[in-house]
């Protein structure tokens, strides 16, 4: 049966010329036109993508193989020496390790907090008006721009700020905590702020997913004797899994590239305690004026993001 079908399709798609002789010129033109037509429709998008994405990416990759571009009038090809220099720099590895810790913690807590708040907002026991109010309150951190978030938390976590005042009032600390200047806790403080600023996006997406789960599934599980924990583990999580996977991968990519928040609060310091690949790259470009090295670091960051993006696309395809 399958073979018959294949044969039918093959016969239908077989070009007219395949049976001997060239098709008439009119048909050839028509066929060429039908092939070009989709490209013509796509051309504005292709042009924009080319100018805004392909060309800059190609240029940055090209810069990473040249001697110091921008600062040198005639940079020369240096092969992989920029990559060797980058991978020999201890600060690069320190930045990469900080970036990994920061990113993993942010993605994990975004997911946990997002899921917890989404569950709360999806609870039928809470009146609708209250749900709407909570929804507005919970989404606020995500609405703020990075600059607002930075100003807000710099005031709160200043050694003379609100956080220390509350902790001192409750006798939880004896001396002022230097949230951003103590190298042992600075990265943790930044991670905390980034978690606060980013969890609402997870919350909204997961809430939409939760609202899409059929109540029949929970009802059937309850009849079979499943408690709240089992229902959560065996219905909620599997039903949300595609959203969780997609969100986690996207969030990973976004957090690996986080720059504004880190730079505006600590600048990567004290020393390199909060240096991430983003701030490291920026300093190479606009502190040391080593633009080829910055391009090299950018390419590494790009490849890291692309690796995760690859799995994201694969998971999307599997879903489809």
């Amino acid at each position: 049966m399958r073979n018959e079908f294949k044969l039918t399709v093959a016969q239908t798609l077989a070009p007219a010329g395949a049976h001997g002789g060239r098709p008439p010129a009119g048909r050839r033109r028509k066929r060429l036109r039908s092939r070009l037509e989709p490209l013509a429709y796509l051309s504005p998008t292709l042009a924009v993508m080319g100018v805004l994405m392909a060309v800059p990416i190609a240029m940055v990759i090209g810069f990473s193989f040249l001697s110091n571009v921008v600062m040198e009038k005639n940079p020369v090809f240096v092969g992989f020496s920029n990559y060797i220099k980058l991978f020999s720099d201890a600060v690069f590895w320190e930045s990469a390790w900080n970036t990994l810790q920061f990113t993993v913690a942010c993605v994990a807590f975004h997911l946990l907090l997002g899921l917890a708040f989404a569950q709360m907002l999806n609870n039928r026991l809470i009146p609708k008006l209250m749900t709407a109010v909570f929804r507005v309150i919970y989404i606020l951190p995500w609405v703020f721009t990075a600059a607002i978030v930075v100003i807000l938390w710099r005031v709160i976590m200043n050694p003379n700020g609100v956080a220390n005042f509350i902790l001192e009032s409750l006798s939880l600390i004896q001396s002022k905590v230097e949230w951003f200047s103590d190298k042992d806790i600075a990265l943790g403080s930044l991670t905390f702020i980034n978690i606060w600023a980013g969890y609402p996006f997870f919350m909204i997406s997961l809430l939409a997913g939760l609202q899409g789960i059929s109540p029949d599934l929970y009802e059937a599980a309850s009849i079979d004797g499943a408690g709240p924990v089992k229902r959560f583990l065996h219905i909620t999580i599997p039903q949300l899994r595609p959203i969780i996977v997609s969100m986690a991968m996207l969030d990973f990519i976004w957090n690996v590239q986080q720059f504004a928040l880190v730079f505006m609060i600590t600048g990567g310091g004290p020393v390199h305690a909060t240096e991430t690949l983003g701030t490291y790259t920026y300093k190479l470009a606009f502190g040391k004026y080593e633009f080829s090295m910055a391009a090299t670091s950018g390419v590494v960051l790009f490849l890291l993001s692309m690796a995760v993006a690859f799995f994201y696309v694969r998971s999307q395809k599997a879903r489809d």
């Binding site: 292709l46 042009a47 080319g50 100018v51 921008v70 600590t266 310091g269 300093k283 606009f286 004026y289």
Partner: protein, 422 residues
């Protein structure tokens, strides 16, 4: 197949004009009616009162018929980044506002011209300039304005602690600092922002400069001197005695000003430009201005930290003579006085006098101090200065956290700076 070959060509053809447009922020050329249009990239218009710089340009245009000036105004950091990028693509504005942080790197890029030649061509006498800094015997930047960083004293806090006189040496300062510091009341002697984000201000450096010491000797690092050691030991002791506001390692310039303005710091090393801001934000605060205390026993001329608003001419400019004419105009006695008055800076022309000194005792004090001191601007025109200043702050943090000794700090700085300046 042919389509596959053609596609990249089409994309590239579309991309090229767009790329060309990206870098071209300040094309010089002829304005309507055959007039010359000079572009002037700066951060000054943003920092000066509204309309001041445009007014100066309008006056210049009146005096120079046929020349129009187009102002390209951005905040400081943005101006610096744009200039470095424009230098690479040969699209700099005709006249560029630069300073000690950028002049060397722009000169190395071949982006700014030798002003000594333009001065000679225009028969300009450089002796009018307060200072004529040179790189390899040539001038690449002239300073339109200088800004100094004296010490501010909160006279209320000092009076409460029983001090009527401001400290003049490190011992007196330490004694007063201990007297005014009250951790429970969130009051500390001073703030020392040494963030690595965008190093600004001269809080650690000013102590050395006030005592006649320098970090450089003939533009080469000299961190291993006894003077630098004494200064680092002084800073370390201040930190250990908890006289410095907590959070110094990520504190920024504006945080320091805020601490002083709100009366939580008794001392502040800051730009003169803060006077009006402090008066507006906290009119009840009583403060004075004076020299940064010097090392005990030092009797020589005090060094005072300074920064500048400089000017250069782009190598890609098609109107270099007219560009110099604009610079000369900005440096002329009257215009330079006006700029200094509006920016609360000190004029680059030695014959100019800023208007603000008349009638305001605090400004008069600052002007007297400026004239009595030696301007310490040894960091001016160093290559990769932002990176070097970050390195200085990083090493100070390590020293204050006792991860390295004073001697190790000196050695680390000497090594890093030698490699950069070598």
């Amino acid at each position: 197949m042919r389509l596959k070959r053609i596609c990249p060509v089409i994309v590239a053809a579309l991309a090229l004009p767009a790329l060309g447009a990206c870098g071209d922020s300040a094309e010089s050329g002829k304005a309507d009616g055959g007039e010359i249009e000079l572009s002037f990239s700066q951060w000054w218009e943003v920092e000066l009162p509204e309309g001041v710089l445009r007014g100066v340009m309008d006056d210049f245009e009146k005096q120079n018929p046929g020349v129009k000036v187009k102002l390209i105004s951005n905040p400081y950091a943005e101006t610096m980044k744009t200039e470095i990028a424009a230098a690479a693509t040969g699209t700099m504005a005709d006249v560029v506002a630069i300073n000690g942080e950028s002049v060397y790197d722009l000169k190395e890029q071949g982006a700014i011209v030798n002003l000594s030649e333009l001065m000679t061509q225009a028969n300009y006498d450089p002796s009018e300039l307060m200072s004529n800094d040179q790189i390899d015997g040539n001038t690449y930047m002239v300073r339109a304005l200088n800004f100094t960083y004296p010490m501010y004293f909160n006279t209320d806090l000092l009076a409460q602690a029983g001090y009527t006189e401001v400290p003049s040496n490190w011992s007196e300062f330490t004694e007063a600092a201990k007297a005014v510091t009250d951790e429970q009341a969130n009051t500390y002697a001073w703030s020392m922002p040494i963030s690595v984000e965008s190093p600004a201000g001269f809080d650690p450096e000013a102590w050395l400069w006030a005592s006649g010491g320098r970090y450089l000797d003939n533009r080469q690092p000299a961190f291993t001197t006894p003077e630098v050691k004494a200064e680092f030991e002084f800073l370390l002791q201040q930190y250990k005695d908890k006289l410095i506001t907590p959070g110094a390692f990520t504190q920024q310039e504006q945080d320091k000003v805020e601490e002083f303005t709100q009366g939580r710091n008794a001392f502040m090393i800051g730009s003169l430009a803060h006077i009006n801001g402090i008066r507006t934000s906290n009119p009840d605060l009583n403060f004075s201005i004076g020299a940064v205390p010097a090392q005990d026993g030092y009797e020589g001329k005090r060094g005072i930290a300074g920064a500048s608003w400089g000017l250069g001419v782009a190598d890609n400019s098609e109107h270099k003579a007219e560009a110099w004419k604009l610079i000369e105009y900005l440096l002329s006695t009257e215009v330079n006085s006006k700029l200094a008055t509006e920016a609360i800076g000190f004029p680059g022309n030695r014959n100019s006098t800023p208007g603000y000194v008349e009638g305001d005792p605090l400004f008069q004090q600052a002007f007297d101090l400026y004239q009595a001191s030696e301007l310490a601007m040894e960091f001016e025109a160093l290559p990769k200065l932002t990176d070097l200043r970050r390195n200085l702050n990083e090493n100070l943090v390590k020293m204050l956290q006792e991860e390295q000794t004073v001697e190790e700090t000196q050695e680390a700085l000497q090594t890093y700076w030698s490699e950069a300046l070598g």
